[in-house]
């Protein structure tokens, strides 16, 4: 098979993969694992969701690195996902059992070797993820005009695929002011607000 045929074949398959990767089950899983500090993604920004285990398993078919993390998440921070006991598939339940029984060697999980997924059980980043899960420590979003204003800024920034840090750097605004605005605090200076709104393609009118 020549190179052009290979590229054509890959393009057809990749188009389907790309379409699936735009679906909420994938975007929300990646954004959530990114938020927890367990995954990084070059275009999907970190965001708080609370995906169902079913969607995480589906996303894992597109991105098997999710399967690498899943056994450790189910054991160390199960509250990171929505599920009932009956939702856990047999293979995952078996892997969890093996780990909990401290079996010396367990089966691979959906193509991921035991050594590869075991590593996450003792990884320091799991502690960081647990801390990020503590919803009481996250700022309260105000359900008023300031709240919707915060949504506009946050959504605009996410559309630009920029983290808060990158946004602040790119548009030369204070990171603290940006964070405060996205949390519904209205203490930033007017010039900063105008600058941020312009960056997300909005204007301030009286």
């Amino acid at each position: 098979m020549d190179r052009e045929t290979i590229i054509k074949l890959a393009t057809d398959k990749a188009r389907l993969d790309e379409e699936r990767a735009k679906e909420p089950f994938f975007v929300e899983t990646i954004a959530w694992l990114h938020y927890l500090g367990l995954l990084r993604h070059s275009t999907i920004p970190a965001r708080r969701y609370h995906p169902h285990l079913r969607d995480v398993l589906k996303a894992g078919e597109l991105e098997p690195r999710i399967f690498e993390l899943l056994p450790a998440i189910m054991i160390l921070i199960p509250e990171a996902l929505r599920f009932k006991k009956r939702d856990i598939p047999h293979d995952l339940a078996e892997v969890i059992r093996n780990i909990q029984n401290k079996d010396e060697e367990a089966k691979p999980f959906r193509g991921i070797t035991w050594q590869k997924y075991r590593h996450w059980l003792t990884a320091a980043v799991m502690d960081l993820a647990r801390r990020r899960l503590d919803f009481r420590k996250t700022p309260r979003r105000r359900a008023d005009a300031a709240g919707s204003f915060a949504e506009i800024i946050r959504d605009g920034r996410i559309k630009l695929s920029l983290t808060q840090k990158d946004f602040a750097k790119t548009y030369n605004v204070s990171l603290k002011a940006l964070r405060d605005l996205e949390q519904g605090k209205t203490t930033a200076s007017l010039s900063t607000v105008i600058c941020i709104l312009n960056a997300v393609g909005r204007t301030l009118r009286a």
């Binding site: 190179r3 590229i7 990749a14 367990l38 993604h41 597109l62 690195r65």
Partner: protein
């Protein structure tokens, strides 16, 4: 971000070596780090989305204390050093580009084509979607030449 981390590591080794010199101890030798895997792909700013776990694959010849410090610096940025890093196979002719050049630490990034070939050979199932996307973006001739050399069956990989 990785270049910044290696810069900090270089400074740390430098200060450790100054202290060692004052005490007439042997200095820590210069270390070489080669970033491979998904972390190198993320640094390469490819035109399609790349997912990576927060463990970074770095081939290195560093002493234990330098690796421990690197791990500490990575963790401060929410990353970790993959403990199995040095077991990663890369083609022998892999070209590495400069990421950081310092007095006590040099860091390099593996070129994308070689990383993709390594993935196609060592874990095709885990990387099939990534490889399909990469091939769909018309990789350079080098990639196909390497696949030919290492007998990678691209057709079955794409259709798998």
């Amino acid at each position: 971000m990785l270049a910044k981390i290696f810069g900090k590591l270089d400074q740390w080794v430098s200060s450790e070596n100054k202290a060692a010199q004052a005490e007439s101890f042997r200095p820590i030798p210069k270390s070489v780090f080669k970033v491979v895997g998904q972390a190198a792909l993320l640094e390469a700013n490819l035109e399609f989305g790349i997912t990576a776990t927060v463990d970074v694959d770095i081939l290195n010849n560093a002493k234990h204390e330098v690796v421990a410090k690197l791990n500490e610096l990575l963790l401060a940025e929410g990353l970790e050093l993959d403990p199995l890093s040095n077991q990663i196979w890369m083609p022998e002719e892999t070209i590495y580009t400069n990421l950081y050049k310092g007095e006590w630490a040099d860091a390099f990034l593996a070129q994308t084509e070689y990383i993709m070939v390594s993935k196609a050979i060592k874990s095709p199932e885990k990387n099939k979607v990534l490889l399909r996307t990469y091939i769909a973006h018309r990789p350079p001739k080098l990639f196909f030449d390497l696949c030919e050399k290492y007998k990678v069956n691209l057709k079955s990989l794409i259709e798998g």
